[in-house]
Symmetry: C2
Subunit: 208 residues, 2 copies
């Protein structure tokens, strides 16, 4: 039986319900729990019961919102990818539009990505684990299905003209892929080292 009902909804006046903690968004709690457990123990150690426990819900609750563990995994993946894309977009200044040097924009994007990832390395660890697992193919499909936001970013014509003629996934692996991997592996970079790394990726993906 339930022991108590902490922070459940209260009624205020006529109509809408008002939450005590803003809202007990259980699907989000479950996704977060999966994210952190996968990051620290791998898919191996992220059982549904462990996920539920960390999310503070019952085992069955996860299945109310996700049809299976696999569906939950994909949901968490898409969420992390879109958070990353948002962070990168927010990191570049779009005001002068025409005047920004592509190399400078590249630097802004990489810096934003690094800030975002290292602020919560769980994300990088989850990404690397999933993208090197058999989930990869299906995850990539779902990402493309809802319009890969990172790919759109890289399509800017003035940038494209400078890029080495290599498939997009190779260019990704040479730049953002390296960033994600390093954060996941807990390699800490000084400001100067990060700058040298960004320069290195720029030299890698562009022609002289």
């Amino acid at each position: 039986m339930r022991v108590e009902a902490v922070g459940r909804k209260r009624r205020s006046g006529t109509g809408k319900a008002v939450a005590d903690p803003p809202s007990p968004d259980r699907p989000a709690a479950v996704r977060r729990a999966l994210r952190s457990l996968v990051a620290e123990r791998g898919f191996h150690g992220a059982s549904m019961s462990a996920v539920a426990k960390r999310a503070g819900v019952a085992t069955g609750t996860a299945y109310v919102h996700y049809a299976s563990k696999e569906e939950l995994v994909y949901a968490a993946y898409l969420e992390i990818k879109s958070e990353l894309a948002d962070a990168i977009v927010a990191g570049v200044d779009v005001n002068p539009e025409r005047d920004v040097d592509p190399a400078d924009r590249w630097r802004q994007m990489m810096r934003a990505a690094y800030r975002h990832l290292s602020a919560e390395p769980e994300r990088a660890r989850f990404l690397t684990q999933l993208e090197e697992s058999p989930y990869r193919v299906e995850a990539q499909c779902r990402l493309d299905a809802e319009g890969n936001p990172l790919q759109a970013l890289a399509a800017e014509p003035r940038l494209v003209r400078l890029l080495v003629r290599l498939p997009p996934e190779v260019l990704y692996a040479l730049s953002f892929g390296v960033l994600v991997k390093l954060v996941a592996a807990d390699v800490s970079l000084s400001r100067a080292e990060l700058d040298r790394l960004i320069t290195a990726t720029w030299r890698a993906v562009t022609v002289a």
Copy 2:
């Protein structure tokens, strides 16, 4: 009970046993089976019983040679790493010693690595899965314990002088790491694309 005893040893003359297939090296068969199962199904789907079945041995046989699944995993990892290092060493010509341009040597090494990995992509897939999992830390320790063969290769003074001042693991991620990841992801590169990729990594890891 055993149904038959295919290819068991036969006796020849006085002393040594002669195998029918040269030698039923069961530990090696078990390592190979783990390698291929992890590559195609992930650690998830590589249970010890499945590994044993694919290796053509009984479940218990794996435990005769390895104390636990974890030990088997590390053994398979070290084997793959050392095979890779051997392939790279074999790929560079060491005869003129003093006269080879570091950039050329780099190209030879990367090409050898790519040949070796894409000839049997299981290796790349196993490596990426392990190196992004919680096994990573312990695996790295054991690798260093028996003298990381790749690290020795990169220590050549004339090369070191040209490298960007970044930690070794960052330089690895920018070059060989990318190669392994791409082969694991089944990205097929034309001869020209591979050349451009190698050039890209060289530009990334060296100063102008």
